[in-house]
Symmetry: C3
Subunit: 670 residues, 3 copies
């Protein structure tokens, strides 16, 4: 990834928040903890460009010098996450406008509109200036464009956004008639006569076309990507040759941008990931997200650019991480392919909105349990240096996840409002992980040829190309499982008429007549004894066989789960949202696909293998509250102990075994 022969360890460093006297202490503490990388500059703009084209580089040079002298690598940010007040006040037109048409006021983070020409000019200039001054500095190992692009400023409804949306629509659709067809403007008689009629979907008296809203989501993602490219290009124009990336915001339900479209533009995939304190199985959510990160990164390692040492500030109840959790989760990310673990932020702030966001150095300082865990983690990360650059062992099982499909579901009035369509994907990931399959999470347009089992949960809107690829996968022998709420709409958020789920009806051999969402708290039984909640469908088979049927109510006797043999593969349809009985379904699907577990199945223990051309490493993580025994052989890197067949793993502990049998590696790599 970054070409480093070690894993990255460190975090965001915001020295402008502290007096210079603290900087020396910072360097000493970083060395104590083994920090080798800090992200610098994210909020520094106002301190470097103190007024329009007035520059104060001295302090920033000093910081860079201090870090450089200490041998700490710098991930240098273009500071565009924090447009200075002087810019916001001189050019309020850069500040986003909300759906009501009201412009926000100066004084916020990410207070810019990605479509605003004035912003383009200023943001490119600051990037160019940073590139010119530090592009060749040896301590600057990589570049970090802005920060969390779209985190707050995803959508803007200003005039410049309308103009850019208009141009985007022209490019996408070509003619206004095509726009009218794509967005279904005939409904409610809101036909566009020309592209002049295209504007950002400002609040109208009533709801708006879900197709228009989806298009605006897509446009907005592209506009943010455009901003990334603009800054990246400004850096490259100044001769920057080190890697350039930005931090993508991933969670199971996150949908700021269609990151699958971004990965070709970043030199490596970097993500931010924050767990939810109230989620009792946040390690499973983490596993999903890390799997998605490696799905985006494909054949490259990726980097965990931000997570937290402990509590965050923005949840309703910001419980801290339990002792050991930071370590376990850091190593879990590395297990899944991250070439390091970086935190937001180095030192917890005393002021500002994020004053309660934890840091590597907490408010209470270094004589604390947390600091000691940070130092210990630094040592562990050093012990794992050899895994840098390796990849996670290829899986034969994948789950499809798609952000535009989530947008499509969320824009407009659906049979179930506020239904978390991503829930099903996480359930499949948990169940398949628990069975030792270590599933990948990939976007629909990824290369799917290597998979024997493909789960397609909640892929609400889908294009024909994806349908073709999935159909081909079945024909070549794969098992494809289409979950409820998949394939209903096309890529423009129009319902595919002629029987649900329109996109997959032929492949599945089913014909859905009507959706039957359940009422709040309503449950219905299937013949197998499974119980469904939230979602059922009136379905009939047209070529498929019935695996499970509805057992009561208006749908009694009708198919609930179906299977169709196609070519050498199988196409399953799961029309119900299963509250219970899901495990039996997963077992059946796995059996049908013929995939075999590649990791030991031990309750509470997660296993992931990273592999290089020469070697493999088995990561085992005990998320549970009881000790476990894990089959493994080789050398445990954190202790240096030799492991001969069995490893005792304490509750909460992590082990990383360099495996002895190198012969198994090439087989495991695609």
């Amino acid at each position: 990834m970054t070409g480093a022969n070690h894993l990255l360890f460190g975090g965001d460093y915001n020295p402008e928040q502290w007096p210079a006297s603290v900087w020396r202490e910072d360097i000493d503490l970083m060395r104590e903890a083994g920090v080798n990388t800090v992200t610098l500059g994210v909020f520094s703009w106002a301190f470097v460009e103190t007024d329009d084209d007035q520059w104060d580089w001295a302090w920033f040079d000093e910081i860079i010098g201090l870090l450089s002298d200490a041998g700490i690598g710098i991930d240098l940010a273009t500071p565009t996450a924090a447009p200075p007040l002087w810019l916001q006040r001189a050019h309020p037109e850069i500040i986003p406008v909300n759906r009501q048409g009201l412009r926000f006021h100066p004084g916020g983070r990410l207070g810019w509109c990605a479509s605003q020409p004035v912003w383009h000019r200023y943001s490119a200039r600051i990037a160019q200036q940073f590139g010119a001054r530090y592009g060749q500095h040896p301590a600057v190992r990589m570049w970090h464009v802005g920060n969390e692009l779209g985190g707050g400023n995803r959508l803007c409804y200003c005039e410049a956004s309308s103009q850019a949306f208009r141009e985007w629509a022209h490019e996408r659709y070509g003619t206004i008639d095509a726009v009218n067809r794509a967005w279904g403007t005939a409904v409610w008689g809101l036909r566009y006569r020309s592209f002049d009629d295209v504007t950002a979907p400002l609040a109208s008296e009533s709801g708006q076309s879900p197709s228009l809203l989806l298009a605006f989501d897509r446009f907005s993602s592209d506009a943010l990507l455009g901003q990334y490219r603009r800054e990246r290009d400004a850096l490259r124009a100044e001769g920057v040759t080190t890697p350039i990336t930005t931090n993508l915001m991933l969670t199971v339900g996150g949908s700021v941008a269609d990151y699958a479209d971004w990965v070709d533009d970043v030199d490596f995939v970097a993500i931010d990931h924050y767990t939810a304190a109230a989620d009792p199985h946040r390690e499973r959510e983490l596993a999903f997200v890390a799997s998605r990160a490696r799905g985006l990164a494909r054949t490259r390692p990726w980097l965990l650019m931000e997570h937290s040492t402990s509590a965050v500030n923005w949840q309703p109840r910001n419980a801290p991480k339990a002792p050991g959790e930071m370590t376990r989760h850091s190593l879990q990310h590395i297990a899944h392919g991250s070439d390091g673990t970086l935190f937001f932020q180095w030192r917890a702030s005393a002021s500002g909105v994020e004053q309660y966001h934890s840091g590597m150095v907490p408010h209470a300082g270094s004589d604390t349990r947390q600091w000691r865990e940070v130092v210990a983690l630094g040592a562990k990360v050093r012990h794992l240096a050899e895994v840098a650059g390796s990849l996670v062992e290829a899986s034969r099982v994948a789950i499809i996840a798609d952000i535009p499909a989530k947008w499509a579901w969320e824009e407009g009035q659906k049979p179930l409002h506020d239904y978390p369509i991503e829930r099903s994907g996480r359930r499949w990931h948990e169940a398949l992980s628990a069975r030792g399959h270590g599933p990948d999470v990939v976007a629909p347009h990824a290369d799917l040829t290597g998979y024997d089992l493909l789960i397609v949960p909640g892929l609400y809107a889908v294009d024909d190309a994806t349908v073709d690829v999935l159909t081909a996968a079945v024909h070549r022998g794969a098992t494809v499982v289409i979950g409820h709420l998949s394939g209903i709409a096309d890529e423009e958020n129009r319902i595919r008429i002629g029987g649900y789920p329109g996109a997959f009806r032929d492949l599945l051999g089913v014909f859905g007549e009507e959706f039957t969402p359940l009422l709040e708290g309503e449950r219905t039984a299937l013949s197998s004894g499974a119980i469904a909640e939230d979602w059922t469908e009136r379905l009939r088979v047209e070529g498929a066989e019935v695996v499970d049927a509805y057992a009561e109510g208006a749908l009694a006797g009708l198919p609930a789960v179906t299977r169709r043999h196609v070519g050498t593969g199988q196409a399953w349809y799961v029309s119900a949202d299963l509250l219970s009985g899901f495990d039996d379904l997963v077992d059946a699907v796995v059996a049908a696909s013929g995939v075999v577990a590649r990791y030991p199945v031990i309750p509470g223990v997660e296993a992931v293998r990273r592999v290089s051309d020469e070697q493999s490493w088995l990561f085992v993580i005990n998320h549970g509250h009881t000790p476990a025994t894990v089959p493994a052989s080789g050398v445990e890197l954190l202790t240096g102990d030799r492991v001969g067949g069995e490893l005792a793993l304490d509750a909460g502990a992590v082990a990383v075994i360099r495996e002895t049998d190198a012969g198994s590696i090439s087989a495991a790599r695609r």
Copy 2:
């Protein structure tokens, strides 16, 4: 009504959403189902007037020709529900302004302000153009002005609205002193000096006078009625002689406009009605609404202009209708006097906000359970043709319902916030229906002379004329039951001081000292064992006798339910909101009134009789889950079977018996 000798069957037809190739299929399917009426044009404006005064009639002519050739009647809409984008963009001043003073943006349905002169001009012109072109077309059987007037654009706070409100206030009150008195502007010292001070009640720093807010509700209703009249008059000016109406939005709690004031302006009453999927007794809500529709229609049949074949899109969980429910509910409306059953819409849309609103032709097409039920319903409707033009048998029992009284309750801070004042009316309707009384639901200014039992639940604000009428009814022998939250305020939303409930205190012989709303979850017992929730009162009798008393708490021993003999009648007061014990109260009231059941009392079975001068038809509807036996004699129209005394009625089934004994008819008619 429409003069047709059959019942209307069909729905909204929006051909502009579909390619012309689908139109032929539509016609074929309509014929298959027996569709005889479609509502056309609702969203067609932008396709007919493609730019300001640019007309494209060809396609619309073609559609009308296709329908006409197929013998399908047209209910032609003026397309003012859907002002074209070109109009919204050229004249954004037609778009409503919200309470904060912010104008909505182009792109919405019903995006117009009823007080805006520019809108008046354009909307009148399009109506005039439609009237001119199609006013004499034989297939156009009736006219449909706009669609759901006020459904979203009920209130507008723009300058033009303020000006119109000012003129309305001048007309209503005459002098600014009268306004000050009516609206209580002395409170908080907000006195108006002249009508120049009158504006729409835009959001101020604090709450506003409930009297001002009620006046604005009334004005807004009148402004919408004015819009109806403007379009109707434009049609009439073009020589239209067929009936003109618009679809009123009725539900138990609906309050878009004071429809009792509209009925003299429509040639027949047409309503839209949608049930709530989460309501386990939606058939009872339907019965209330249908009773209200016939109360508005008085001596004319009415028409169910819109309901849904199955799910809608705008509820939190849009469960579909159960098999048979569409049929049962359609026939239930007809039982209550509708001369047909029309649906929104013919073909479920693939796009747009309503893409998940069911249609007669579902997304899945015609090889579906739903389509087959539509076709079967069409046949049933044909079998019932002879009831067209008949009326529901007159009842001796009525419930008063009044929309301005509901507004009065909802505007301003009341003893109980967010209390559904309409709940009590529905409870009375259910209880009296279950006892075979088939109560009417009528507005306060309706002719009440025919009723022996009058229920007045939650008539919060009431004028003196209504008090006089109800008092006269008691004197002539009727039993009048005044429910809690009735008669407290006058027609200007001022509290009638001097003891509650001010309007009815004399009639009832009670003196209310104070209201005692109960806390969330609080319950209190009455002497009879009844339990009250939500509402109780500190009451004493002044001439009335105590029927039931409070049994605990601060009100222990004080009257809860009272009765006073006046003339030959009785005036009851029910001061508590009864959670249990309500059935005993209903029985006592019915007994007191002497009214006798006119329908058989069978659990789950609803009976309604329609009568003409020559004949009567008994509709019996089994809403329950078990078969029932119903006493009836005559000919069952749906099967043609002769019924001799008893009819077996399956669970969910409907039967319509042309009764043999015509002698009973004249007695039943007023």
Copy 3:
């Protein structure tokens, strides 16, 4: 206070709401009830100044004459709570602007911005006019500036507010660098270059600095105080020599202004207090508030300027007061040092937003239970005349309450969002009151030298001076109990870094490493068996001893409650929010402090003693539902009965005993 030798009894009188014919009846009823004081003029501006500089004094002269002739004292309000419509329309710039930058519209109460120069001019003029005309009138016994300043218009974001905030910041901080440090603008890079950059914190794209928001709260409080001073000075300039005050809005959680800063500007403290109908122990909330009022008033009596006879209109369910509650609560306020009991309002309004706010004369008139209780209360108040001017006996126990500390907690993202930081203070007040300690409630800058036990609950932000005072208190022998969420931030809402709770760490001998807020519904046990909810901390002792420890979870074995002996006193720290076990803690703290109960401890009975130089009066209030026997000797003032050692007190009853043993008085007074 007002120099009267009796207690004040009466309420707000708004004659402009009623025809002149009612005025005579009002006077008669006031005399019947013994009303001796009415607040006049609050909403009269538009009726006196009918247009800009157009005056109509006649009717107001008449009212004043009527009251004067009847011997009823007048508390004359400057009518600035109700700017006339003519002023709001001519100068809409006086109307507040919200966070989004939208100005409200004319038509509201308190529709003014305290920083607007135009408003300054008009409000000063109307105050000057009132002062000039009535300043020497013998019936005008006191002045009431505006009404509930800030009740709705606390914050304004208009340009004038920004300008005033800028000047305020310049005054407070001196330099822009000091502002940048105080507000932590380096976070997110939002540095101010000059005071020109300072504006009201209008809504930005993201959250804003909690320090900026706290500063704006402080500024807004000062701006309201400035408005008070402006009107007061206008009165004084016209020669007014009678007392001037305004009504402060106190409840446990109220935080409209930092009233501790206002008390030097009012001639006596006057408060409004409304109980919550849904609060089952509203008498305890009242006791807290009354204790706070006397804490603000210090060595002067205070006045209950507004409470309600029964229900209010603005709660979700406005249950009335139970019979006797008005009386009991009125006398409870007097027990706590109020020199009277005034109500909003005299006559319940028929119209307007407050039409359901109860009055001394209810809607139902004078033949009502409520009116009879008002008349009886008037007699009781007359019987208590001799207590006028006396003070509540000094306590040795105080609870610290601070409004800016509450703002500091509520502004910004905290570990627990929406946590009611004031809850803990009320719990301590209840527990100490129940043990007979009659605690004071005082602001941090009050004189704390007289207290042996000081409770510091939720004093989230605190300045160094307060820390010094509390530290000194411990050194001199007091017991100081620091509760959780105290001392964490400094007075600028910056976290005090270096270990929690930064301000009190040295005093307490503890070191807090991390906060551990509990999840919704989560509970954790302490070693003592106590149960904590919501809040716990990772703590270690550094000199303190452990009183109680966490017993489970990640904190098992760590200190929860600590004590440190310092000088002759003790400093306790309670790090957990105790759901159970709190009573044991209170007992332990009380025992440690050596304070002894000064009132009898009888379940449900509250006792408070007022003392003068010559005499003492014991108020005993039975809030419970069973009779009680209370030890007391002297003369019961309400009955005139002599009490010899024991007094029988009915459920709900109040007694006031003039105590015989005057010797005990001087001991009880500081």
